[in-house]
């Protein structure tokens, strides 16, 4: 689960990460984000948050997933120690029976693009300044240079974060 490394992107922070499968890749990305932000061993799994995100493609799904995780910290003050995900393949648009996310209502009668969907369970605890030392504050994830690839060994990803 620790298969990630960071790379410099002038003012920003890039992360490269690997996974056995797509779900593992996403879990590694989640781990990387919180491992960079705080000293993870000090974070206990006291509570869990479940959420669902969708995306137009794998990359978009990853950004929306990490956005949601960052919101848990930035908006709710919740530090994530571990995150388990399940990903549904986009499949063919006509076979999808899932409702589109509420935000998609504004597209009116236009066809909704194929949606990737992910269910996550994030375990952790509320941020306590006296126990949790913050390292780098990751403020946002960007689409810039975003990449997800299948490799011979599994999956590989790259993302640039605003810090």
């Amino acid at each position: 689960m620790t298969r990630y490394e960071v790379f410099d992107h002038t003012a920003d922070l890039g992360i490269l990460f690997e996974g056995r499968d797509l779900a593992d890749l996403f879990e590694t990305a989640a781990f990387a984000v919180f491992d960079l932000m705080t000293e993870l061993p000090a974070v206990e799994e006291r509570r869990t948050h479940r959420f669902i995100v969708t995306g137009g493609d794998r990359e978009d799904l990853l950004v929306n997933f990490l956005r949601e995780l960052l919101y848990l910290f930035n908006g709710r003050g919740f530090l994530v120690r571990r995150c388990a995900v399940r990903i549904d393949d986009a499949g063919e648009p006509e076979t999808r029976s899932r409702p589109a996310p509420s935000e998609a209502v504004s597209v009116g009668s236009e066809p909704v693009p194929p949606q990737w969907r992910l269910e996550a369970e994030a375990a952790g605890e509320p941020f306590a300044p006296d126990r949790h030392r913050m390292k780098t504050e990751i403020k946002a994830v960007t689409y810039h240079g975003l990449e997800i690839r299948e490799t011979t060994a599994g999956w590989w990803g790259r993302i640039v974060c605003d810090v």
Binding site: M134, E137, Y143
Partner: protein, 479 residues
């Protein structure tokens, strides 16, 4: 695709139109700054921005340009109101991140020997760092007022004086703010962060006027050698980030609708004339107003801390606002295009407005000399005060640089500073620094930034803004 730069003159480089570029790009830089701007990567980002519809004249990069994500940092671009777009990524996550310079009646001599005490008091009184909370928790109703009224809200609450508003860009309030365009998440994040400095490169610095280049302009700004000043660099905190992220997500989702081939998804945008474009502008104005209220509250707390720590009355301290500028913003402003004044939507991402003498947007006292332009340097480098120019108004949509600009990545800086005590090194130079984040001092080490003098020199020689004064750092608190 490699990008060829044509040298126009000593400080300007042209990226000719090619491929899907609608206009050429122009980089303002010396040879050295050009190298530090990230070479091909930086130039490519300037060229990418030139692909956007309704772009007017040029895609510009200021002398402190460094490559970022989507739009370059130090990028300036203007769009036609009918054909053009607005892009959350072209404004940046920290909407209305900016600088505020306050002058006092004191001199550096007056605080000699008490600097460490003063810095410690500021560090204690001004919330900074990750997860810090401000002095007020806003009710939903009050927060909406902040988003509509900006700095005036803070003044009405007793955090400052009406005079402070006169010397804030746009009076510290952007029109068209609609809190209904701001998501519940953004509102929640804004609830308790007003009056907090933030983390990363945000700071509050005690400075002294070390050198004056233009005595007339300096006098108009109320600055004299030896005078003690305070510079604040902060923005719209989590609320601004959330607004940017919310609209970026929406615009990426509907990018296909525009029929645009974007070279980078981070450039996602919406037509200025569309509902989504207008909604973003209404939300962005809310975040801009939040940032102005934030800096106003930070200034007020600084005032109180100085008075208390030094045992001075408000009159004795005489802390007043020289000016407040934003350097991450999109604004409707009028500029001459082909001889005629045209209203455009100017995006400044890591760029400062630089309005010339006589411009009606300036306070009366500054109108003869031009708008004060505040350029902070890296930790310990101090800052510059410049003045806006006719050249900038005519050529760069009234814009100039915004800071030193990073030259080293954060991990690179952390590695390069291994074995060094950055705080101690600064102390040896007489600069007292306190930081909330453990890694902040290393990441923000002076060598991680371009040489501020060099950036300002190019801005001055190219005519983007002219040098008025140089401030030296004495003490600094960082998030």
């Amino acid at each position: 695709m490699s990008i060829t730069l044509q040298k126009l003159d000593e400080h300007r480089w042209l990226i000719p139109r090619s491929g899907g570029m609608r206009v050429p790009g122009i980089l303002y830089a010396s040879e050295r700054l050009l190298k530090e701007a990230g070479g091909q990567e930086g130039a490519r980002q300037v060229a990418n921005v030139a692909h956007l519809p309704g772009i007017v004249r040029h895609s510009l990069a200021m002398p402190d340009m460094h490559w970022g994500y989507g739009f370059p940092i130090g990028g300036v671009v203007a769009f036609d109101l009918d054909q053009g777009i607005v892009s959350p990524g072209g404004v940046g996550y920290d909407i209305n991140c900016g600088c505020r310079l306050m002058a006092t009646r004191l001199t550096a001599e007056d605080v000699r020997g008490r600097l460490a005490e003063l810095v410690a008091a500021l560090f204690r009184d001004i919330p900074s760092g990750v997860g810090s909370r401000g002095p007020v928790r806003l009710s939903a109703k009050e927060e909406r007022k902040v988003l509509v009224e900006g700095a005036a809200w803070a003044v009405a609450q007793g955090f400052g004086t009406a005079g402070d508003l006169e010397t804030t860009e746009d009076g510290g309030c952007m029109a068209g703010a609609d809190p209904d365009a701001v998501s519940d998440r953004a509102l929640e994040r804004g609830r308790d962060q007003l009056g907090t400095l933030g983390s990363g490169n945000h700071f509050l610095e005690i400075e002294v006027v070390a050198e004056v280049f233009d005595p007339v302009a300096a006098a108009a700004f109320g600055l004299a050698p030896g005078q003690l000043c305070v510079m604040i660099h902060s923005g719209s905190r989590g609320l601004g980030y959330q607004v940017c992220d919310d609209y970026l997500a929406r615009m990426v989702k509907h990018a296909g609708k525009l029929g645009l081939e974007l070279p980078d998804r981070q450039l996602a945008c919406a037509p200025l004339a569309s509902g989504r474009g207008r909604e973003y502008l209404a939300a962005m104005a809310c975040a801009a107003n939040y940032a102005w209220a934030n800096r106003q509250m930070l200034m007020h707390r600084t005032r109180e801390t100085f008075e208390k720590a030094l045992g001075l009355s408000p009159r004795e301290l005489g802390m007043r606002l020289v000016y407040d500028v934003c350097h991450n913003i999109a604004k409707m402003e009028e500029f001459p295009v082909e001889g005629k004044p045209v209203r455009l939507c100017v995006h400044r991402k890591g760029a400062t407005r630089s309005f010339p003498p006589g411009h009606p947007a300036l306070p009366a006292a500054y109108r003869p000399v031009g708008q004060p332009v505040l350029i902070p340097g890296d930790m310990g480098a101090g800052s510059y005060v410049l003045a806006g120019t006719e050249y900038a108004y005519a050529e760069t949509f009234g814009s100039t640089c915004h800071g030193a600009g990073r030259v080293m990545g954060r991990t690179q800086a952390t590695k390069a500073s291994r074995g060094r005590a950055i705080g101690r090194e600064l102390a040896d130079r007489g600069i007292v620094v306190m930081a909330a984040g453990k890694g902040t001092l290393r990441e923000e080490m002076p060598e991680a930034y371009k040489d501020l003098d060099q950036v300002v020199e190019v801005a001055d020689r190219a005519g983007l803004s002219r040098k008025v004064g140089r401030l030296r750092a004495l003490g600094c608190i960082k998030g």
